[in-house]
Each structure stands twice: as structure tokens, then as C-alpha cells.
């Protein structure tokens, strides 16, 4: 449906961002905070019980313990993050393991097209495989040079910077490779299946 042009009487706006404004997706505002948003209590898994798994359409399920995971090659990422609740935070510094690195250990079935990231507490989010490979996502263990805090998804959070932040599953415990797409927690509750902030894919049918 074509939207008629509407002007809010007397609205000028703050227009924060200056020369960085080209990095702020439509409808977003700039913040230097790191707001916490989640649907339930923060889960806490002791590190000696923590594992990260790749399962589903792989020849053999793979699982790392926390100690094993720490041995994987770690990279630093400085990325812009946009949350569907409208905040954008530029240049967030993370350290983590690329999904490419993890998937090198797996023998993927050729029918694997989609990924569901699953977390402690039952959270899930779905992504096309093409949105997580080729340097597009990582499992973060550190934010701002410090171990990732539980309320921000620690000990480990999957980060997919080019999609709205609910796609970056907190407390992530693994990914499941699948042939068919399956909407995750927020994707089943009215939020967009793909979630590209530059296309403002916030809600169903956006």
C-alpha cells in the first residue's frame, strides 16, 4: 500500500550521528549504551557443563566443551549493531570465533540450507546458511575486551551484525542445520523472518 507523505507538525528531530549518519539504518537512532533486552530470566550454565554443538544435517554431530572452544582461533570484530527496538550502536568491539571456522569442522549435508541457533532458556532464531557464512557471523566470548556478561548473552553469543540484533542469539549453545526454514522465537511472534535493518524488515510482511 502506498504511504501518503505525512509531516509531524513542529518536528525537527535531533539528527544525531553527524558524518556517521550514513551508517544508521532507517528508523534507528544512535546510542552509546548497550541496552539489555530478553524475554525471560538470564540463564546461567556453569562453564564445566557448557558445550557448543553443530547438529542436524551434518554427517556427524560435533560438540566442543568450553575448554575446547577456547582453543579455537579467535578474531576481533568491530561492527555496527542495530536492534529492532530502534537503537543502533556503532563500532561495537567483540572477540569470538567465526562460524566459518566452526563449520570447517563439520561435514555438511548438501541439503543444508538453513540454520537455527539454539540457546539456554529455550530461545531459538533462524537464519539462511548464506547469512552466517563468509565472515558474516561469529560466536562472541568477549565484548569490549571483557568476558561477555550474562545479561548480554555470556558466556557465548552468536553475533550476526548485518541483521537486527534478535538474530544474534544470547546464551547460544549450538546451531542446527536444516533443509527447510523454521521460524524461531521472535520470528513466530510477529517479527520479520529475515530482519535486514537496511530494508527495515522489523515485522511480518515489512
Amino acid at each position: 500500500m502506498a504511504e501518503e507523505r505525512f509531516i509531524s507538525r513542529g518536528f525537527v528531530g535531533k539528527r544525531r550521528g553527524g558524518e556517521k549518519k550514513d551508517r544508521i539504518p532507517p528508523g534507528q537512532y544512535l546510542t552509546n549504551d548497550f541496552p539489555v533486552l530478553s524475554a525471560g530470566p538470564t540463564p546461567r550454565t556453569p562453564l564445566d557443563k557448557w558445550t557448543f554443538a553443530i547438529e542436524g544435517l551434518v554427517k556427524e554431530r560435533i560438540s566442543w566443551t568450553w575448554q575446547e572452544f577456547l582453543q579455537l582461533p579467535m578474531q576481533t570484530y568491530v561492527v555496527d549493531i542495530s536492534c529492532v527496538t530502534k537503537w543502533t550502536h556503532l563500532d561495537m568491539k567483540w572477540e569470538g570465533v567465526s562460524l566459518d571456522t566452526l563449520l570447517e569442522h563439520a561435514d555438511l549435508d548438501r541439503n543444508a540450507m538453513f540454520v537455527t541457533a539454539f540457546s539456554d532458556g529455550g530461545y531459538t532464531t533462524n537464519l539462511p546458511l548464506t547469512d552466517v557464512i563468509n565472515g558474516q557471523s561469529f560466536i562472541a566470548l568477549k565484548y569490549d575486551d571483557k568476558p561477555l556478561a550474562p545479561e548480554h548473552g555470556g558466556p557465548a553469543r552468536m553475533v550476526v551484525p548485518h541483521l537486527y540484533f534478535w538474530k544474534s542469539a544470547k546464551w547460544v549453545r549450538g546451531i542446527r542445520l536444516m533443509e527447510k526454514d523454521k521460524p524461531g522465537f521472535w520470528e513466530s511472534a510477529g517479527y520479520h523472518n529475515h530482519a535486514d535493518p537496511w530494508k527495515e524488515q522489523r515485522y511480518w510482511n515489512d
Partner: protein, 246 residues
């Protein structure tokens, strides 16, 4: 099922000051759709040159009121949208809105478990929608609100909450004031803690459904403490200033 949420042009029917920096706005919606208590609307402002800003605001009113919703908005001092709503918007103005949005932090009067609502500051707004919905639907499930504010003057909906409490419909209201208390204050006078949560939660039983909304520290503390005193984490739904999402 997958409805499209189009932007619509709402009219401001009424505004009401709730506290010194909190206002409620009654919006008339041409394409009104019944909401679920706990959901929010997105509000979009557009400047003459096309610059836009958007924010999400919780619905305060009950879904039984047709054709309109109330949103309650705290004025953020260096804010962009809340300052416009507070300082510029008057009855008769029009504003772009879309909603209702959110499918998890919601309560329906058909859920008959006992209900524990925990609010910090303006986090009370979506919980107020639940309380009003409960009253409008005539639900009888035991319900308690534990509401933390800084000072007495900062309590939103105080009079309405007092009326609901005294109407004896099974709603209990517990206030706690963390910064200052008026003389002869009978409520709590500290941050929400384990003893307080035990006193408020335990009479509601083990199957209580919990909704918590407020600043991160309050939500974290309340949710973690409730888990510690034996409430199953899948009975606890949280929202931390700004609805849903990552």
C-alpha cells in the same frame, strides 16, 4: 494470521499528565485492531525534509476499549520522540502509529493462573494494561503488583491503583519507594529484594505467572531472585525498557 502492520495516522484525542515527567496520550486509530495486554505501538515522526524518528511505546489501556489506545510516555531529557510528544503534541494533532506489536510479553484474562506483576518506574505501563484488562474482563485470578518508584510523586496511576485495590477484586498493590518516602509511609522503602519477593510472591502459589518490566538492573535482580526462590523460569516473562528484540 500474518497480518500486515501498516502505518496509520492516528489523532490525539486527549493528553493527561500522570507525573511531572510522565504523560498519557489517547490515540484514535482509523484501523484500530484489538491488542493483547502487554503489547506496544511504534510511533513515527517525520520532519518537513523527510527525516524520521521512531520509538516503541507500551499500550496502557485495556483491549476492551474499541477504536483507541492510551500510551503512557516518560519524557527522556535528551530524548527525541518523547520530548516531542510531551512538549509539542496536543489534542487534535495527528501522529503516525502502527501496531499492536509483540506476541510474548502478553497476558490474556483467559489465563487463570495467579498473576504477579513487577514494575520499575515507567515499566508499569504494559502491566497497567494487564490490570485494566483484568478488571474489564472481570477476571478473578489472584493478582499482585509490586511496583518500585523513586519517590511518592513518581508513582504513575497511583489513584487508579488505590481504587482497584480497595474495590476488592483480588488485586493487591505493593509499592516500594527507593529514594524518599512521605511521612507515615506504609509501603516498602528499599530496592526489590528476596525478602520482599517472598512476601509478595509466595501467597500466589507455585504456578504463578510473572511479568517483570523496568530498568535492566531491577529486571535482572527480580527475575534471578524469583528463580532462586523456586519459581520456574518459564513462568517468568521480562521486558527491559524498550519492548522485545535482541
Amino acid at each position: 494470521m500474518k497480518q500486515t502492520l501498516n502505518w496509520q495516522i492516528a489523532s490525539v484525542k486527549d493528553t493527561k499528565s500522570e507525573t511531572a515527567n510522565v504523560k498519557s496520550f489517547t490515540l484514535t486509530l482509523p484501523a484500530w485492531m484489538r491488542h493483547r495486554a502487554g503489547q506496544h505501538y511504534d510511533i513515527r515522526l517525520t520532519a518537513e525534509d523527510g527525516y524520521q524518528a521512531q520509538r516503541s511505546y507500551s499500550i496502557a489501556s485495556e483491549p476492551e476499549r474499541e477504536g483507541e489506545v492510551d500510551i503512557t510516555v516518560e519524557r527522556i531529557n535528551d530524548g527525541e520522540v518523547s520530548t516531542y510528544l510531551h512538549d509539542v503534541l496536543v489534542p487534535g494533532d495527528r501522529i503516525e502509529a502502527r501496531g499492536p506489536i509483540g506476541g510474548y510479553f502478553v497476558w490474556e484474562a483467559t489465563m487463570d493462573e495467579s498473576l504477579l506483576l513487577i514494575a520499575g518506574g515507567s515499566g508499569v505501563v504494559p502491566l497497567m494494561s494487564m490490570i485494566r484488562h483484568r478488571a474489564a474482563a472481570g477476571a478473578k485470578n489472584p493478582t499482585s503488583l509490586l511496583y518500585s518508584s523513586r519517590n511518592f510523586e513518581d508513582i504513575i496511576y497511583y489513584n487508579e491503583l488505590e481504587q482497584l485495590r480497595s474495590a476488592n477484586h483480588g488485586v493487591q498493590v505493593f509499592h516500594t519507594l527507593t529514594r524518599s518516602q512521605p511521612p507515615a509511609w506504609k509501603g516498602y522503602s528499599r530496592r526489590i529484594d528476596q525478602d520482599m519477593l517472598k512476601e509478595v510472591a509466595q501467597p500466589l502459589g507455585r504456578s504463578v505467572q510473572v511479568f517483570i518490566c523496568g530498568p535492566t538492573l531491577l529486571v535482572e535482580a527480580a527475575a534471578n531472585t524469583l528463580v532462586k526462590i523456586g519459581i520456574n523460569s518459564n513462568q517468568i516473562r521480562t521486558e527491559r525498557f524498550g519492548p522485545t528484540g535482541g
